[in-house]
């Protein structure tokens, strides 16, 4: 009932994977922000955000992606997004996220993408 949200971190080489579970709104966005900040503080800028268990996102959640992407790319990394359920994906889509972020189906594809050429800047 209290619409919980958790971030679970794992790593594949120099790619950090943040798996989101639950409801990402203005109440829970700070937890996600801290998780990304912790990666950047550790010098890790190749980030995959796996939203496979994300049940809900509001613009406050999208704002976390927005606030970090420039810095991450300046430092030679990227934030790739994967696994979104249709209803959550729809929110990313109507706001134009796919034009700026790599939004992919699977976590594996997102991780693999870091082996390829760097993403274009915004």
């Amino acid at each position: 009932m209290p619409h919980p949200f958790t971030v679970t971190r794992s790593a594949e080489g120099d790619v950090s994977v943040l798996a989101l579970d639950g409801y990402l709104d203005a109440h829970t966005a700070p937890a996600f922000e801290e998780a990304i900040q912790a990666e950047l503080d550790a010098g890790r800028v190749r980030l995959v955000v796996d939203g496979g268990q994300l049940k809900y996102i509001s613009s406050a959640g999208l704002g976390v992606f927005m606030g970090f992407i420039e810095e991450v790319r300046e430092r030679g990394g990227d934030i790739k997004i994967c696994g979104l359920a249709p209803r959550v994906r729809q929110v990313f889509d109507i706001l134009g996220f796919p034009a700026i972020y790599d939004v992919m189906e699977s976590r594996e594809a997102a991780i693999r993408r870091f082996a390829g050429p760097p993403a274009a800047g915004v």
Binding site: M1, A26, S58, A60, M66, V91, L95, G96
Partner: protein
């Protein structure tokens, strides 16, 4: 030929932890109004955005203030009002919600009002300075 109007309202302290309850409230109303799951999700998000703005921009996190959400529907229309007691603002003067620009400026916001307009049929804002501000949103029912 007015059909019976159903009225609901919810008052909660102005704090983000109450967004979950606000979403449950509006989801319940949306289902009763006969909206499909997809439209209920849109309604839920639009009202979350409106209440997040009230909590952050109107009441600045002051949890002694109230967020008030009213919802009514008849056979034709679902109406939502989100009421705050903040200073108000002029939505007509908001800059365009341009994701590339916002991202470039490292803004982590600026999309909320745009989301409401995308998801609802009508969005308007009535300011009574120093008293209450009312964000009104409507969704047509089939």
């Amino acid at each position: 030929m007015g059909s019976l109007e159903r009225r609901f309202s919810l008052h909660v302290p102005s704090a983000t932890r109450n967004l979950a309850l606000i979403r449950e409230f509006v989801t319940s109303v949306g289902l009763q109004a006969g909206l499909g799951e997809d439209d209920v999700s849109k309604l839920e998000l639009a009202v979350d955005e409106a209440c997040t703005n009230v909590i952050e921009h109107a009441h600045h996190g002051d949890a002694t203030k109230d967020v008030v959400v009213r919802a009514t529907f008849d056979d034709h229309t679902l109406r939502i009002e989100v009421i705050d007691s903040g200073p108000g603002f002029d939505p007509a003067r908001l800059p365009e919600a341009d994701l590339a620009r916002l991202t470039h400026e490292r803004r982590s916001g600026g999309l909320g009002f745009h989301v409401m307009q995308l998801l609802m049929d009508e969005v308007s804002y009535e300011i009574v300075p120093g008293q209450t501000n009312r964000l009104r949103m409507t969704k047509k029912l089939r």
